[in-house]
Amino acid sequence: MSFIDIMKSLSDGFSVTLMIFGITLAASLPLGLVFTFGSMSKVLPLRWLTKFVVWVIRGTPLMLQIILIFYGPGLLNWDLKFSRMNAVLIAFVINYSCYFSEIYRAGLESIPKGQYEAGQVLGMTKPQIFFKVVLMQVVKRIVPPMGNEIITLVKDTSLARVIAVTELVKAAEDIISQYANIRVYIYIAVFYLAFTALVTWLLHLAEKKLSYYSV
């Protein structure tokens, strides 16, 4: 198999990796916020439920969650059934929403109470305080920990292979299993490195853009 052919196969796998990465990120960024509001809610049962879900999701391996979501319904004879890709996406989105929600919560709780009080003194409404005072400060503070999670997500996409979704690692292994070309592992390492380099650079840009108070 020529180098070009190998790259073609790997690109197919990489596009699946990118798709898992993109959709997970796009869906779990807002969904994470929903979980945050749940876990900070004044309604106690809602708060307990959200915290319980976050505990279960963060307390079990993502690999296990993928397997359960994909094989579970069929083994329990339910009519509900997910395609391989959908099962992966559901597991990833829920999992990452839970992690993001905790980062959001940390960001929100890091804003001193005094700012809310100052806003009230100035006659601002609650939404005004949240959107005009608090939110941008939170965004600024959570960029580094979010960057950590996002880079982890790039590499976690390889877990999709447990239910035989042909992402980058699986695509490489299919080539290796046939042509016994071990160098392919090095090629995919380069794929991942290049992509995380891009993500790191974008995060750096975001951080720079947001550091408008530093001298």
Binding site: K8, W48, F52, L76, E173, D174, S177, A180, I182
Partner: protein, 328 residues
């Protein structure tokens, strides 16, 4: 604070308890339906086996209707030479690929090849994500409890692969007790290890795939691996990256057989497939396919059909074996 914690734990426990309830009720609900459909299809298949031995077209049952209504047979495979693999153009090819296509043509359904993780093949089958496992699946007693096998169509054996320079160090299995040996989890190779008193002492490395087991040996993280002969031969040939490995001809298992695995209750599907295999064997189509992939000497059906009825697995329905003896 303490009260709160107790409340949280209590509610968590309740949730878990509820989950447990949900699960058990749903499984008890589904059981009667399952058993009835099982007995139904078994009964119908049995009656078919008696009445419609040679007229394969008339076999019917609930399990076959499920496949027929879908119009496709989902075939669980892994990429492995020479059974199912991608050619230079990225097209799926191989002995099993051609064989599956030929059988599905006879059955009037479209084959849909689904790549699976080999270690999860039983779960894929049971959860109906695939309909059959058809990828050089070795027949053994443990698997017979999990799935229903078709006619055995090919023989295989497990061989030991070591680095070429160590080739003469291990004359028998007794000399290998101290080694680290890799094999595919859930493969026939694993049964060899657990079945041999000397080998059972070795350090076991359970790889995800046969080629991972080879990689263990190549990289020196394992001293030897146990894999399918057909695969070992294809991998260690001159010019490949694994050419520095050697197949030990003196340590190998007795002959095994490859067959197609289906769900235990899918008796009609298997009877249908068996009838199609017989037709292909009689037409000489099967030996043609085997020849194309240099597997003629391993083929069990079609080449010399006199032997076939002896080697056919026990689970083969009487319908299939009758038509085989007719052919002979």
């Amino acid at each position: 604070m303490k009260k709160k914690i107790t409340a949280i734990i209590a509610s968590a426990a309740m949730c878990l308890g509820l989950c447990g309830c949900g699960e058990s009720t749903s499984s008890t609900q589904s059981t009667p339906a399952n058993t009835s459909s099982k007995t139904e299809s078994a009964a119908s298949a049995a009656s078919e086996a008696n009445s419609a031995a040679s007229t394969s077209g008339e076999i019917s049952g609930a399990d076959w209707d499920y496949i027929k209504d879908k119009g496709e047979l989902v075939v669980g495979i892994t990429y492995n030479m020479p059974m199912n693999y991608k050619d230079e153009q990225g097209e799926l090819t191989g002995f099993e690929t051609d064989f599956t296509n030929a059988v599905c043509e006879k059955l009037g359904v479209t084959p849909k090849f689904q790549v699976i993780e080999w270690s999860k093949k039983e779960i894929e089958l049971k959860s109906k994500n695939i309909d059959v496992i058809w990828n050089g699946l070795t027949v053994n007693e443990d698997r017979k409890k999990e799935m229903l096998f078709s006619t055995s169509y090919m023989k295989n054996k497990q061989v030991t692969v070591v680095k070429a320079e160590n080739k003469d160090k291990y004359p028998d299995t007794a000399s290998m007790g101290e080694l680290t040996i890799a094999f595919e989890a859930g493969s026939a190779g694993e049964d060899i290890i657990t079945g041999d008193t000397a080998l059972a002492e070795c350090k076991q490395v359970k790889s995800e795939a046969q080629k991972d087991a080879l990689l263990e040996v190549k990289s020196g993280t394992a001293d030897a691996c146990i894999v399918d002969y057909t695969l070992a031969k294809a991998f260690t040939k001159e010019g490949s990256d694994y050419a520095d490995l050697a197949v030990l001809e003196n340590i190998q298992s007795s002959d095994e057989e490859y067959a197609i695995g289906a769900r235990l209750e899918d008796t009609t599907v298997v009877a249908k497939i068996n009838a199609a295999i017989d037709e292909l064997a009689n037409e000489g189509k099967l030996s043609e396919i085997a020849k194309k992939y240099d597997l003629s000497d391993a083929l069990l059906v079609g080449g010399n059909s006199a032997d076939t009825s002896d080697t056919a697995s026990e689970t083969v329905s009487s319908a299939a074996s009758e038509s085989v003896s007719e052919a002979a």
